[in-house]
């Protein structure tokens, strides 16, 4: 080879090496003296309009950009005043009055008044999207009355003891800003997808869809900051694969990640620069069965399935970070009791029930529908497949995107035989779980079993409209036992909610009301 050729190759090699050797940048970066942290997560938030949409990634950003009248904090969760400094309800539970703080300001300086509150509620109700479902049955726009600049009154169509529980999810927007950006009478929906009109502790900075969202702390936030070392900025970075999330955390490019698999959480916990928080959650996992159609219509077959399933395998999938459900209600919630004689694997009993149903050797196929890409649900399905094979029942694994699953669950004819569902109660009241087994929930994803039991429904209705907790308590005890007996689903487990933080990032407070990977950014601070 000619000399010149070699020279070129050496030059190329030098260039390549010089490019690759670069110091890893550490997150929690000091940019102009400000402390910015990076949160790594898989799910993007394409629409942050509080009236249009919520899921865990979206709500995390909404909670930072906006305020609501009340807020959930802590575990066990408490409702604390936020934009409202006090509130009271009438004896019949139909009238709620909130008194607002005087010093709350929107990001552009406008004061947060009762008018803004009324407008925000009206907007969400009118658009009928996002959180609207929580109050649509109880609240009309005519029921919202501004008493004075800082007092607002809600008159419900029917008494609802849990009204205050929904309030933290109804964020208050600045009508002036939203209407200024309205297009063709859309009430600002287009603009609000990636802009905000809030009063919260953070404001928007960079917003790059599919890549990252940057939040900047509002230093003169009206409520103030508890800790002078609070984070000055948060970058919510979208990283789609597990190994990137993990590596980013280990390298220090990310300060906090959610959504690692169990193996990765265990591995990073060993890293001296990382700590993993581990709290029992209230998110239940259940495999709901269609009680009105197909083979699963027969309670004997459902019981056979419940007795065939290898429950402890779910704990193994989570490497021990989960507890088995022993009631339709999550452990720790108000009104929960451990139901006696809960189903556990017993092949003999399973075969007995199967024989009772007339299929002693199985010989049919069932569909298991789960969320595409969700490892844990896939693995649980494979365990069930193995279990049912021993009964002679074939299981067909059908991964779908979540909205498709919801679509199928909306009608009894299309609702799957078996559907994997995680449900998080968004209020600390047993009604929010019990109602899932009521006719009103038919067509919703948590009602995909189309469960029918008039006696249980009566009890649920009674408990809903009673004010006396002792009465409600005993009603809910009966409800739990009766639902378990009917076996409308395989009652699975509650998994521990975990986040992995770098040691310098402190202040995390777990609240079971927050969805999946959602964390409250407000109390976070840097410990140097």
């Amino acid at each position: 080879m000619k000399k010149g050729h070699w020279g070129l190759i050496v030059l190329a090699a030098i260039l390549m090496v010089s490019f690759t050797v670069s110091p890893a940048l550490f997150a929690y970066e000091k940019r102009d003296g400000k402390k910015i942290i990076v949160y790594g997560e898989r799910q993007p938030a394409p629409n942050i309009d509080p009236s249009q949409f919520y899921d865990w990634s979206t709500r995390m950003l909404q909670q930072a950009l906006y305020d609501a009248l009340l807020k959930y904090v802590g575990n066990p969760p408490r409702l604390i005043p936020w934009l409202a400094k006090s509130w009271k309800k009438s004896a019949d539970g139909k009238k709620w009055t909130f008194e607002l703080v005087r010093n709350a300001k929107f990001h552009n300086g406008d004061p947060v008044t009762a008018h803004a509150v009324k407008w925000s509620f009206e907007r969400t109700l009118a658009l009928k999207k996002g959180p609207a479902w929580m109050l649509l049955d109880f609240l009309d726009k005519d029921g919202i009355r501004v008493i004075d600049d800082y007092t607002i009154e809600f008159s419900l169509k029917a008494p609802y003891a849990a009204f205050e529980m929904a309030i933290p999810w109804w964020y208050i927007m600045n009508p002036k800003v939203v209407l200024a950006n309205e297009k063709a009478g859309d009430m600002g929906q287009e603009w609000m997808k990636d802009h905000s009109a809030g009063s919260g502790p953070f404001r928007q900075k960079r917003w790059e869809h599919g890549v990252l969202y940057e939040l900047e702390a509002v230093e003169d936030y009206w409520k103030g900051w508890e800790n002078p070392k609070h984070v000055n900025g948060v970058i919510y970075k979208i990283i789609r694969e597990s190994s990137s999330l993990r590596m980013g955390l280990e390298k220090g490019e990310l300060d906090v990640v959610a959504g690692l698999n169990s193996e990765d959480f265990d591995a990073v916990a060993k890293n001296p620069n990382i700590y993993v928080t581990n709290d029992p959650g209230w998110t239940t996992f259940g495999i709901k069965m269609n009680t009105q159609k197909g083979y699963t219509k027969d309670i004997n077959i459902r019981k056979a399935i419940c007795y065939a399933f290898d429950y402890p395998s779910m704990i193994k999938i989570y490497n021990g970070n989960a507890i088995l459900e022993d009631s339709p209600f999550p452990k720790g919630m108000k009104g929960y009791i451990p139901v006696p004689n809960v189903y556990r694997q017993d092949m003999k009993k399973a075969k007995e029930y199967l024989a009772k149903a007339g299929y002693p050797n199985g010989g049919f196929e069932l569909e298991y529908v789960y969320v595409q890409g969700l490892e844990e649900e896939r693995q649980i399905g494979l365990v069930l497949l193995d279990n049912l094979a021993q009964l002679g029942i074939k299981l067909k694994m059908v991964p779908l995107v979540w909205p498709n699953m919801v679509a199928r669950a909306s009608k009894v004819e299309t609702s799957p035989d078996l559907m994997a569902v995680f449900t998080t109660p968004i209020m600390n009241d047993p009604d929010v779980v019990a109602i899932q087994y009521h006719k009103d929930s038919w067509g919703k994803y948590y009602g995909s079993h189309f469960y029918q039991n008039e006696k249980v429904w009566d009890l649920i209705q009674k408990a809903r409209f009673t004010a006396d907790w002792n009465v409600r308590k005993s009603l809910y005890e009966q409800i739990q036992v009766m639902i378990m007996e009917d076996a409308p689903e395989i009652f699975g487990m509650l998994y521990n909610r975990r986040w992995a933080f770098r040691k310098h990032l402190q202040g995390f407070v777990f609240s079971p009301m927050r969805l999946t990977s959602e964390i409250d950014l407000y109390p976070l601070y840097i410990q140097d």
Partner: protein, 306 residues
């Protein structure tokens, strides 16, 4: 009709068959000989042969046969390669070696079906286009152009995205991606053959269209078709693995290589074995078919290149 005096015994039937097909037998032997001269083609042929053998005897060489049917052993999950588990275990405690072996059978089936369906659609259309000519030819070729203007994987993604995930839908999608290639190949050949002297003479003595097609045109197309088919086998299997990786191909608990890599990816970098071995299987399979196809082309159809 058995005539008096006809002695129909085995040997005479065989030797008669041999005599009738003497030229074909000779060319087949020539093909094998020429192939064996090129070391790469030998490699390709041996790989393909090995794959076929593995696919056929697969169930016999498994170390843990129950693992391919869906058995799970949560206590054995994510173990590194060892004597009893040569490729390690996966996230459900299943033996990866056994699953890779069964994946061979699955992949070969997938490849065969895709190529055969594509040929089944493409070859007749190509012959019709080339033979009939005129506006029929124009229409068929335009439609072929349309399909060929979309990058294959993207078209397959669009079709599977709409039909839903699953190996059946993936095969449908990939067949739809592959048929145009055969139309082009066959149409060109048919067009040129149509003007050949021997076709003219066949026509002049009154041979019907079908007869001409089957006895004159089709046999002359077989060489390029065989070459293309063997190259396509490898590519079809690769594309099926691509779709499996994205998540729209084979579904659990099918032991499809692409899907296995997709799951294995979640367990990197510690459990490298889950993603590595299925990938090597894909590499060898596609390599084998590519080398074989190359070799066949040098032997059967040396004018066409690239």
């Amino acid at each position: 009709m058995k005539k008096e005096g006809d002695v129909m015994d085995e040997t005479s039937w065989l030797s008669r068959w041999r005599a009738e097909h003497e030229s074909q037998i000779r060319s087949f032997k020539l093909i094998l000989y020429t192939l064996s001269r090129s070391p790469l083609s030998v490699v390709g042929l041996s790989i393909v042969a090995a794959l076929l053998i593995v696919a056929l005897i697969g169930p016999l060489i498994l170390t843990h046969p129950e693992d391919i049917k869906g058995a799970v052993h949560m206590d054995l999950k994510l173990k590194p390669p060892s004597r009893s588990y040569p490729f390690g275990t996966d996230e459900m405690g299943r033996d990866i070696y056994s699953r890779v072996i069964m994946g061979t059978r699955l992949s070969l089936q997938i490849g065969l079906i895709i190529v055969f369906v594509a040929m089944g659609i493409g070859i007749p259309l190509g012959i019709i286009a080339g033979y009939v000519g005129g506006w029929v030819n124009e229409v068929i070729m335009r439609i072929t152009d349309i399909f060929l203007s979309i990058p294959g994987l993207l078209l397959a993604l669009a079709i599977v995205g709409v039909l839903g995930p699953g190996i059946k839908n993936a095969m449908i999608a990939l067949s739809l991606v592959w048929w145009p290639g055969y139309v082009r190949l066959v149409q060109g050949k048919t067009l040129s053959l149509r003007e050949e002297a021997f076709v003219e003479s066949a026509r002049s003595i009154g041979a019907g269209k079908l007869r001409i097609i089957f006895s004159h045109i089709l046999p002359n197309c077989t060489s390029p078709i065989i070459v293309k088919a063997s190259m396509d086998m490898g590519m079809a299997i690769l594309f099926a693995a691509n779709l499996g990786f994205i998540g729209v191909g084979a579904q659990p608990p099918e032991p499809e290589w692409g899907a296995m890599i997709s799951v294995g990816r979640n367990y990197l970098p510690d459990r490298w074995w889950m993603a590595t071995f299925p990938g090597l299987a894909i590499l060898f399979t596609v390599l084998g078919f590519n080398l074989l196809g190359d070799g066949l082309r040098d032997v059967l159809d040396p004018q066409s290149r690239g």
